[in-house]
């Protein structure tokens, strides 16, 4: 086989990278220069504006204005030419294919946060203070560095299917065969295929829960643990009566971040099934509607619905943030 690598085609990219880095340096240099020039005053709008301005402009262009426009688009037809009122939302809640999407998203958001938290918690507890703790945590944490696309490929390989008479190449089907069962096309039969996709997300995220919860467990005051031990609490009692109540805030954090992440999930579904076989979720369907079927209105409606689902979680977070700032 031939060796193929066209260096000439790669050169413009590196030039572009160089331009980007130079632009970055110029930007930072200019900012510092302007900051040094401006006279220091106790209350000066100039400084604040200069420092905050670039970020605020980008946030406006990249998030605020698009968010508003998407909301408007969701009341328009597919090509955004006509006002259609609530049609897109009606579609979302009445058409079977859209309802499947909503059902799948519900399954995801119910299962992923609870499984991730449960597994992360159990693992954090069982490896706590063991000899191999840091290695053990790293092993579970490592998938966090892998892209969802990469993880999707890893797990498609685990689920790989070969007909019964052939040798299996997927680990899961091999186990099924060893146990005397028939190999299955795990990703193709609804509704269980959604569960097999959920496994991938849990696999990636459990490390996050482990690390956060493990830190919380280490933060439990030693006196409390010691007192409970002196009173003869069994490990199980210790877990439910001491550990669990003490790390409640961290548990809430894990559940909240996982819920938000799961609602926005896109890559796993796209890589593993492309949303076929009834596995689509809101984020994936939004992409398909807006960028593949040219249905900008429906896509926008799905995006707005996603936003509505996430909002209560944000409000809760802001409230606890403000309480902490006032405290």
């Amino acid at each position: 086989m031939d060796f193929f690598f066209d260096f000439a085609a790669e050169a413009p990219k590196l030039v572009q990278l160089l331009i980007g880095v130079v632009a970055f340096l110029a930007f930072v240099g200019l900012m510092l220069l302007l900051l040094d020039r401006a006279p220091m005053k106790e209350r000066s709008w100039g400084h604040s504006l200069l420092l905050l301005g670039p970020a605020l402009v980008l946030l406006a262009i990249g998030l605020v204005v698009p968010g508003i426009r998407t909301t408007l688009l969701s009341f328009m037809s597919g090509d955004s030419s006509q006002f259609v009122g609530l049609d897109n939302y009606v579609w979302m809640f009445t058409q079977p294919e859209a309802i499947t999407v909503l059902r799948n998203t519900l399954i995801w958001v119910l299962l992923v946060p609870s499984l991730v938290t449960a597994i992360g918690l159990v693992y954090a507890v069982v490896v706590d203070k063991s000899r191999f703790e840091s290695v053990a945590k790293s092993l579970v944490f490592l998938p966090m560095a892998i892209s969802f696309v990469g993880a999707g490929i890893i797990w498609r390989f685990v689920y790989a299917y070969r007909p019964e008479e052939a040798d299996q190449i997927g680990l899961l089907n091999q186990f099924v065969v060893w146990l005397g069962g028939e190999p299955q096309q795990w990703l193709q039969s609804a509704p269980t295929n959604t569960l097999f996709l959920i496994v991938v997300m849990v696999w990636i995220q459990a490390g996050f829960a482990t690390v956060v919860l493990s830190a919380a467990i280490k933060g439990i005051p030693a006196e409390i643990v010691e007192a409970a031990r002196l009173d003869g609490a069994t490990p199980i009692q210790m877990f439910f009566r001491v550990t669990l109540p003490s790390i409640r805030p961290a548990l809430v954090v894990v559940l909240v971040t996982q819920s938000i992440g799961t609602l926005k999930l896109f890559d796993i579904v796209r890589t593993m099934t492309g949303g076929q076989f009834d596995t689509s979720v809101i984020a994936n369907e939004m992409y398909n509607q807006a960028f593949r079927y040219g249905e900008a209105g429906k896509g926008a409606a799905l995006a707005v619905f996603l936003f509505v689902l996430v909002t209560p979680i944000v409000v809760y977070q802001i409230r606890s943030l403000r309480q902490r700032r006032e405290a």
Binding site: A9, E10, L35, L52, L63, I119, S147, V158, L171, A283
Partner: protein, 317 residues
Amino acid sequence: MTTIAPGVVKTAQPKTAAGRVRKRLSGRVASLIAVVIALLWTTPTFGLFLSSFRPEDDIKQTGWWTFFANPQLTLENYREVLFGSSSSSGRLASFLINSVVITIPSVLFPLALATFAAYALSWTRFRGRDWVYIGIFALQVVPLQMALVPLLSFFSQGVEVFGVTLMPAWNLEGSAQFVQVWFAHTCFALPLGVFLIHNFMSELPGELMEAARVDGATHGTILRKVVLPLVAPALAAFGIFQFLWVWNDLLVALIFSGGTAETAPMTVRLAQMAGTRGNEWQRLTSGAFVSMIIPLIVFLSMQRYFVRGLLAGSVKG
């Protein structure tokens, strides 16, 4: 602080032999659970890794666990997926370069912008400061999906208000398209970045700033000489976060980078390969590993900062 339920105190037991056995037993169970979870979490990756070095026929016909009975290794898969000349082979080398070109500015710009903004929000005073901060924080949760369609039309059609063109279309072609990917990633990264860095920066002692100010230092000098060295760990944490996010991102890349070898990153290519040639395992296994190797190195060498950032971002927030 937590109160211990009274039940714990009441169930105090004498340290009997049975109690000890039970304790020993639960220690065993704990170790068993730990081993099972650790195995479940590493075996899939290990299987893929091992497979990526097996000859094509072996991968497609036998499970990777049979490798130990019939060990045969090759680098051919990597050569093919990176540099293969047939159109189906991946040509991942080109996409690897794209990933690098996309990632570096997409990490640098948010770092700088978020640092400036976080400094303004913690150490300059103006009316409504807290509200601006809360506003930025809240934007963290606007789903990316809300921004995609309008931002894309911002690039392709410019901005026009009542027939007046405020900004012409960008019409980027070739490798200039990287600019819009950088732009999108920078916008989307700012809420988290400002939040994380502000968290660290606002906790620096105020006397430090005051002393520098009395000495006649400008904000530029304070930022450079006093604040930056102190918040370096936070910058590292956010930098790794952003690096992993951009490197592993698929959605933003799919929409803003085109999808050809000219500008698309590896994730886009891998997703294509997984979709159309879903059973060419010799390319998928090696390709997946090529895409993982750089983030894994960065992650392992800087795990300490990543964990710190994670804890600051989640437990505090």
